[in-house]
């Protein structure tokens, strides 16, 4: 029975609660007005748009939550109101519900206002971020282009974001223009060198790289994709120190970039600065001094000849000065780097260390030149200037691979094209492809190599000394040539300079020509036209001259007693002579075996009859 009573009471309680519930349905919370409303900010690609959305969403959610709380409170209050209704329950409940509705409306309005505030806040944040120039992780790469577009002048700080894909050329241009000088490391460290947008921007703005590796990467990325002329101009704007970098040279070589002569000259100057300086051996200077003394231009020569030498030296000096100045002016013409094809030097072969002159096509390997500031290379033909020796090598012809400085300061000249050697200093020591070593005096000497009209020929207006044969030859001034000029029926080049060849055993087709050929016994000297020749010994020399015919030189009086160690057959086209030492002096033998000249004095020994006749007064 007891159990039954309890059950009855519980049933009544449940019934009562069910009745209240039925009345409390009007106080149920309605959160519909608290539902968050999405806000997309400006656009998904706009700068800090995500940040904006996040900000707004957070804010909106918070407002919505507040709204929900308030709506719940409204409901609770309403329920309490309904529960508190005891008198006229039916009239009380509607009042409660009306209050409840008002409460919820208030909450909703508050929420709406909060949402508006959130938008404002988010927009503000976006604007702040955009204008701050600081674009953190919250700023996606998709937004960076917009950021770069909108970032105010001087505000951009997030250079790391330059690595984002999708940045447009204009934005890169904007950054490069504004920060190209002040933030090179940041720009080059973060910008995608392979991006065509960045490439175009860099080309247009002629951005000057400071990191050679980045420039090389940029050029490689640009190779084939960028306009060649624009790339050439862009390269021209780069600093000479950066362009001098080996990676950059390699990249330029691959991209076939051409630089104006003046720029290339400066670049090569930088390259040469970094190369080891070749110390010319003191022995070489001794040789210069010795060789210069052969035709010393003092008492040995007449004033006209001396003036000729002086003028030729001054002309060479002038050529060197003009070529030196070429590196400081915008002289017309271009040059490009190349991988030194088939170069005989290991330091050069296949490496991007050769420059090519687009005008005359000659090339020069910079690794074959002494470093420091000993040499420089300029253009308007390709000039290698030796500042220490005050010499210059001017290279022409596609076959000419330039000069190679040896450790001893001796210079190898190439077998191809032409190499003009301008000497305004003490002299130049060169060796050609046929191993002919030569000391060249002040003036201008041109080596005509393969591809020229007379391969293997030196044309000179000064003197050349060949130590191997001990023969020195010198050009003769034009006025002297005029005095003795004779017309020859053969078709020859009328150039007044002296043509010198080796081991041809015939004369080149020049008006003034000498050929020196080596044989087992004697050297063969072929002469035509005008030249001064000296057969050189350590301290003295045996002089001879070509004045259409070979002749002795009375300057032998300055070399009395000279005994040359080598023998020579001399042929001038009409006469043959043998010059050799017999006894203690050098003698010139005619073809008939008679002695025409002797470097030593005549014996003053006399026969008995002569003695009687000469000294009869002494005896009587």
């Amino acid at each position: 029975m007891k159990m039954r009573k309890a059950d009855i009471l519980l049933g009544i309680l449940v019934l009562l609660m069910m009745i209240k519930f039925a009345y409390a349905q009007g106080c149920a919370p309605n959160t519909a007005g608290c539902a968050p409303n999405p806000y997309g900010c400006i656009s998904s690609t706009d700068c800090a748009n995500a940040e904006c959305i996040t900000s707004y969403t957070t804010c909106d959610n918070a407002a919505s939550s507040t709204c929900n709380t308030e709506v719940t409170t409204c409901s609770t209050t309403c329920a309490a109101c309904v529960e508190g209704c005891s008198a006229a329950y039916e009239s009380c409940v509607p009042e409660c519900e009306a209050e409840h509705q008002t409460c919820e409306n208030t909450a909703s309005s508050t929420f709406k206002a909060a949402e508006a505030t959130c938008i404002t806040k988010a927009d503000s944040l976006q604007k702040t971020i955009t204008e701050s120039g600081v674009y953190g992780a919250g700023v996606g790469c998709g937004e960076i282009n917009s950021c770069l577009k909108k970032v105010p002048v001087g505000k951009f700080q997030s250079f790391t974001r330059l690595s984002c894909q999708g940045i447009k050329k204009d934005q890169y241009s904007k950054i490069l223009k504004e920060y190209g000088n002040s933030h090179k490391a940041a720009i080059e460290g973060n910008s995608p060198m392979t991006s065509s947008e960045f490439q175009q921007a860099a080309l247009e703005t002629k951005y000057e790289f400071q990191d050679p590796e980045k420039l090389a990467e940029f050029i490689r990325g640009c190779q084939g994709a960028c306009d060649q002329n624009a790339l050439n101009q862009f390269a021209t704007e780069q600093s000479r120190t950066v362009l001098a970098n080996q990676d950059v040279r390699a990249a330029m070589t691959a991209a076939k970039i051409e630089l104006p002569w003046w720029k290339q000259s400066l670049v090569m100057l930088e390259v040469l600065k970094k190369l080891p300086e070749v110390q010319a051996a003191s022995a070489l200077y001794g040789a210069y001094s010795f060789a210069s003394g052969i035709f010393d231009g003092s008492a040995d020569e007449d004033p006209v000849q001396n003036n000729y030498y002086t003028q030729n030296m001054q002309s060479a000096q002038s050529d060197i000065a003009v070529a030196s100045a070429a590196s400081k002016t915008s002289s017309l013409g271009n040059s490009y780097w190349t991988n030194c094809p088939d170069h005989p030097e290991l330091e050069c072969a296949g490496k991007p260390i050769c420059v090519v002159d687009t005008k005359d096509k000659a090339s020069q390997c910079l690794a074959a030149l002494p470093g420091g500031e000993v040499t420089s290379v300029t253009f308007s033909s390709l000039h290698v200037i030796d500042h220490r020796q005050n010499n210059m090598f001017t290279l022409k012809g596609a076959e000419n691979q330039g000069v190679v400085y040896r450790q001893d300061g001796n210079v190898n000249i190439d077998k191809g094209g032409t190499t003009k050697i301008s000497v305004a200093g003490p002299g130049a020591s060169v060796t050609d492809a046929n191993s002919n070593q030569l000391y060249i005096g002040r003036g201008t000497t041109t080596y005509l190599g393969i591809g020229s009209e007379s391969p293997g020929t030196y044309l000179t207006n000064t003197f050349i000394f060949n130590p191997k044969s001990s023969v020195a030859v010198a050009a003769v001034n034009p006025s002297e040539q005029q005095k003795l000029r004779e017309s020859r029926a053969i078709n020859i080049n009328r150039d007044e300079k002296l043509s010198l060849t080796f081991d041809k055993q015939k004369l080149s087709l020049y008006m003034n020509a000498v050929d020196i050929s080596g044989f087992a016994v004697n050297y063969l000297l072929l002469t035509r036209g005008f030249s001064n020749i000296k057969l050189v010994e350590r301290d003295k020399s045996f002089p001879l001259a070509s004045r259409n015919n070979a002749k002795g030189d009375s300057l032998i009086v300055k070399n009395k007693g000279v005994a040359i160690s080598k023998g020579y057959n001399v042929n001038d086209g009409t006469y043959d002579y043998i010059i050799k030492t017999t006894g203690f002096s050098t003698k010139v033998f005619a073809e008939n075996g008679k002695i025409l000249e002797d470097s030593s004095p005549m014996s003053n020994e006399v026969s008995p009859r002569q003695q009687i006749l000469l000294y009869k007064n002494t005896f009587t």
Binding site: G552, S554, K560, D572, Y575, A590, M602, N604
Partner: protein, 258 residues
Amino acid sequence: MKRRGQVTLFVAAGILLLGGFILFAIIRDTSTSKLEPEIENVRIDDTNIRNFVQSCVDKTSKDAVFYLGFIGGNLKEDAFPNFYNFDTSYRLPYYYHEGKSFILTEQEFNDLVLAKYINENLRECTNGFKSFKNTRIADNNPKTSVELTDNEAAFNIIYPVSINRGFKTRNLDSNYVTEVKARLKDIIAIARHIVADETENDRYIHWDYLTDVSNRNYNITAYTHDENTIIYRIIDLENEIDDEPYIFQWANKINLAK
């Protein structure tokens, strides 16, 4: 009367004519028998003396040619202003000296060197004819003319020599002629050619020309000496004087102080 006088005159003339004829015959016979050996001796002496003079002419001429070639002459007064000295006696004339030519023409060589040497030295050779002790011989200064041909130097000397015998004076033939075998004419031309070249430009030793000369059977060599001097020596291989080839040599001084 008139006819008798005429007969007497004819008879007297006949007698005188006959007597003269007899006297002439006697005198003629006496002269032939006593004076003939003396006249013979006189003739021998004249020949010896003339031969002696001729030998001196020959020797002096050869010496003249020798001295001309070897030392530019050997005269009391030098014919040239500058010499290259081996010693005080052996010295060579400068035919070219620092831009100036001092070489003589062929005629000047003949007159001023060769002839003059003969004129100065021939009497030294005859030496007052002391070797002819018993004969009084007088002479006068010779007068010499020289002519050069292709192969010899021809001397024509007028050398008056007279022999006194008592009251008689005999003048020897004064014309002497001798020849010295040497191509002096050609050699002088060669030397003048070389000096002319030097004067124009002393820078060169013309091997080509020297070769051409050497092909004419000469040795010709330019030797190098001190004092900016080049000595040229030409040896005539076709002629000898006293068994020695003829030598012609001189010095050129190069002008290095232009």
